[in-house]
């Protein structure tokens, strides 16, 4: 079972890779389509700020020539294959988690490897939900699959540990409550960081910047819809994260005799929480520019990464369950 899980992870990485390549193909071929769609996209920016509902589907572009039409159709097919491959990858990813859980006879969140695997799965599953509701955001998939390939491959190559049972300190129903919510919120924050970065590039592009990172955003959805998605994901994840931190404190009280002790993990969770609270404030304040606010969201995600990787690797604390000695 354990070996099966390991193989499934490898296959999932391959499927993410395929999805990423198909998205890239769509990106490369989407040239003409993007140009034709540029005008409506700009309109959308204006509409998005107000009370407009969601992302209006841009009207079909008028292709300048049959060649462009064919290439646009190919791009679209590339995009659809990419989505299919992402779905397949997510299914393999889930199967890897389930088999790992069965092999270990517990929830697969006992060490850093399993943790990263679960967080990335939540991220991709949430992405599929977003995609289902807002198909027009598809092109963001290139960035998402890139993140997936990087993180899941890091998990497999660097963080991998064989299955061991939980130490008694983790053997508590609080383990399920605290860790599942942390994992869930982290997954959504992970997904939220993708449109956040996308927005920062796209907003620059829409302002006429044509240098390196901005040009990457040429074919991304409009800045306003990316920003809106960023906020929606963070607003969704933040209360869950808050709950998870509180649950952690309740557990810490039972296990270590104090709800909060500024252990490195706790400290970084506090930092992330404060940064994300700062993001929500900044976004709610009209005098703060949207890109400043969005930078805070990106910063928030960096602090989450720091907590996940940095704290497990560089610091020792009570939360030393990373499995890397």
């Amino acid at each position: 079972m354990s070996a099966l899980s390991d193989n499934l992870v490898t296959f999932a990485i391959l499927a993410y890779l395929v999805a990423m390549i198909c998205h890239a193909v769509e990106y490369a071929l989407g040239n003409t389509r993007a140009r034709a769609a540029a005008a409506p996209a700009r309109e959308l920016v204006g509409a998005g700020v107000g009370g407009g509902g969601g992302v209006p589907v841009s009207p079909a572009p008028v292709p300048p020539s049959a060649v462009a039409d064919r290439s646009a159709r190919r791009a679209r097919i590339g995009g659809l294959i990419a989505v299919g491959a992402t779905g397949l990858a997510a299914a393999l990813h889930l199967a890897a988690l389930v088999t790992r859980g069965i092999a270990a006879d517990r929830m697969p969140w006992g060490n850093m490897y399993e943790f990263v695997l679960t967080v990335t799965f939540i991220g991709v599953a949430a992405w599929l939900v977003v995609l289902w509701k807002r198909p027009s955001l598809r092109k963001l998939g290139l960035f998402l699959t890139l993140v997936m390939v990087l993180l899941v491959a890091t998990a497999e190559l660097v963080l991998y540990v064989p299955i061991v049972p939980l130490v008694p300190a983790l053997n508590s129903y609080w383990f399920v409550i605290h860790v599942s919510t942390i994992v869930f919120a982290s997954g959504i924050f992970l997904l939220g960081a993708v449109p956040a970065v996308g927005y920062l590039m796209r907003a620059g592009y829409e302002q006429g910047k044509r240098s390196f990172p901005y040009t990457l955003a040429k074919r991304l959805p409009g800045a306003a819809s990316l920003e809106r998605l960023t906020f929606a994901l963070h607003a969704f994840a933040f209360p869950i994260f808050t709950f998870a931190v509180i649950a952690g404190a309740i557990w810490a009280e039972a296990a270590w005799g104090r709800p909060w002790g500024w252990d490195p993990k706790e400290t970084w969770a506090f930092i992330s929480w404060v940064v994300y609270a700062g993001y929500l404030h900044a976004r709610a304040t009209p005098s703060v520019k949207r890109n400043v606010a969005t930078w805070l969201a990106v910063l928030g995600f960096l602090t989450m990464l720091m907590n996940l990787f940095g704290v497990n690797i560089f610091f020792t604390g009570l939360h030393s369950y990373g499995g890397l000695d």
């Binding site: 009370g51 933040f238 602090t303």
Partner: protein, 546 residues
């Protein structure tokens, strides 16, 4: 999420007769402090200020690591220490940031609280003259009941409704601001809970060896270390005693722990006599304190028979060295050994001590320094015997778990042999005295604590969450309906019957408002079938920009 900043920061103060510059400065500073920008900067500073607390060792968490840091960085450490870098979360600057932040918070929410209470009591405002200017607008045939019928539909959907003649104003989503205020107030309550805990709380740590002789009582002297809040005296500690009756631990084949349970008997004037079980993750809750299991180990029982034939027993705990197999190190000291029973004279140079390594599961062959498994499959005690003046009378504080090396270096204590003892074995020393390894007792490491702020903390965290959800997902919005005067002159599509105009205004960022508005309009005009369907692109409903 567009904030409705009702209090413009630069509002010109009303002209006063005697402008007081100090007062103006104070007012301005207060306004600055309670502005959102300041709050943001303080939040950011708080996050940055917490970072050194995770990078540098902290006294409150690992004092040994702080000492280590001092030896490793003799130049840097004292300087860091002076700015409180080893006690970040109690440092002046960290406290200053959060106290300012909370002052800002109070200054921010007090006026909002007042405004919100006022808003809750006031009625929805009159409809603006030109409804078509609102972000949402529709024209529909007026329902038979007119304004009253519309009001009825709205009320059923839990809008707060005000009818003024032919006009209906309605508002919904006060929950957003209620939640937001609840959330921020809870933050203050959390801080108060933390403060209560640190002022009135106390804690103590110690080892407890199994057996009636080793019972301890909850007084300050009986702990290895204690921490009392500034408002707690030693006499305030509840009086009870604890005895470890049994400790059970199970391990997997790999040596990884799987299960712990400690059974104790509690009694004393402040606690009813009873026995209780506790474990990692499930502390023993007493009336005035909780007892937490932090660790466990073995206390070898060693009997020493001196040259006068008198026996003494030591069952001092041996501390685990941190490996999986519970290899433990410790000291069995017999300062009263070799006292002549007839004269009662102590021979200070004839004191005995044994340092040792205890291996619950000793390997088959030497070296006998590392245990292979945490339970006692092949217990062995590797002892080194010392004779001389242990220095225990000199009044120099030394560790109970280590031989005073100063005495060894000074030649006052001499090593007299080493031996590996199995359970029950006896070792006869050069002077004919005997040491026996009788077996072991279990011991546990305990933390006994009381935190009077924890209930407040828990309750305010609950409110905090509820408030946060209200704040994030609540949506304040207004709708207006107005029956338009019938215009019989023109051949209108409705055949002369009266029309109604509707307008909607989301007061906070709300992407789904167009949809809700359309449904509302449909419900009011009576076509229920349509009301549930996605009607955002119905004709007549205009999606506009603010």
């Amino acid at each position: 999420m567009t904030v409705v900043d009702d209090r413009p920061e630069t509002a010109a103060p009303a002209p006063r007769r005697r402008p007081n510059r100090l007062l103006a400065l104070l007012r301005n500073s207060w306004r600055q402090l309670t502005s959102m920008r300041t709050a943001l900067i303080l939040l950011f500073l708080l996050a940055v200020a917490a970072i050194p607390g995770s990078v540098l060792p902290q006294r409150g968490i690992s004092p040994e690591k702080v000492n280590e840091y001092f030896t490793d960085h003799p130049d840097l450490a004292p300087r860091l220490d002076r700015i409180g870098a080893f006690e970040v979360f109690g440092s002046v600057w960290f406290s200053a940031i959060y106290l300012l932040l909370f002052t800002s918070l109070i200054g921010c929410i007090t006026p909002r609280l007042r405004d919100h209470v006022r808003a809750l009591r006031s009625r929805p405002p009159a409809a603006p003259k030109r409804l078509e200017r609102l972000p949402q607008h529709a024209v529909l045939p007026a329902p038979a009941g007119g304004a009253a019928a519309v009001a009825e539909v709205l009320r059923r959907r839990r809008w707060r409704v005000e009818v003024r003649g032919d006009e209906v104003s309605a508002e919904k989503g006060y929950l957003k601001e209620t939640g937001n205020l609840l959330f921020h107030t809870s933050l203050i309550a959390v801080l108060i809970g933390v403060a209560l805990g640190s002022w009135y709380g106390w804690s103590g740590n110690r080892l407890l060896v199994a057996g009636a002789d080793n019972a301890f009582c909850n007084t300050r002297q009986q702990y290895a270390e204690t921490k009392l809040g500034p408002r707690v005296d030693s006499e305030d500690l509840p009086r009870f005693c604890l005895r470890l009756d049994d400790f059970e631990a199970r391990f997997l084949a790999s040596g990884q722990p799987e299960f712990f349970n400690a059974r104790v008997t509690v009694d004393g004037p402040d606690e009813p006599t009873r026995s209780g079980d506790f474990s990692v993750n499930s502390p023993l809750r007493l009336g005035g304190a909780s007892v937490y299991l932090l660790g466990h180990g073995y206390a070898p029982v060693i009997r020493y028979t001196d040259r006068f034939g008198r026996s003494q027993i030591s069952d001092d705990p041996f501390l685990t060295t941190g490996d999986m197999g519970l290899t433990s190190e410790g000291l069995a000291a017999f300062p009263d050994a070799n006292v002549d029973p007839r004269t009662g004279r102590r021979a200070p140079d004839e004191q005995m001590a044994f340092t040792g390594i205890y291996l619950p599961t000793a390997p088959q062959q030497a070296p006998f320094v590392r245990s292979e498994y945490p339970t006692e499959r092949n217990p062995a005690l590797n002892l080194v015997a010392y004779r001389g003046n242990l220095g225990l009378d000199a009044g120099i504080p030394g560790s109970v778990y280590q031989l005073d090396q100063r005495q060894v270096r000074a030649g006052k204590v001499k090593e007299v042999g080493t031996k590996l003892l199995r359970k029950g074995e006896t070792w006869t020393l050069d002077d004919g005295t005997k040491v026996e390894f009788l077996g072991t007792e279990r011991y546990v490491t305990l933390s006994v604590r009381h935190d009077p702020g924890s209930t407040m903390l828990l309750v305010s965290c609950g409110f905090l969450l509820v408030g946060l959800m209200g704040s994030l997902f609540g949506r304040r919005r207004r709708v207006f309906f107005r029956v338009m005067p019938a215009d019989p002159a023109e051949g209108s599509p409705t055949g002369g019957s009266s029309l109604m105009e509707a307008g909607g205004l989301p007061r906070t960022d709300y992407p789904g408002f167009a949809e809700e508005f359309a449904q509302l309009v449909a419900a009011v005009s009576g076509d229920r079938a349509d009301a549930s369907a996605d009607s955002s692109d119905r004709t007549g409903v205009r999606e506009g920009t603010e």
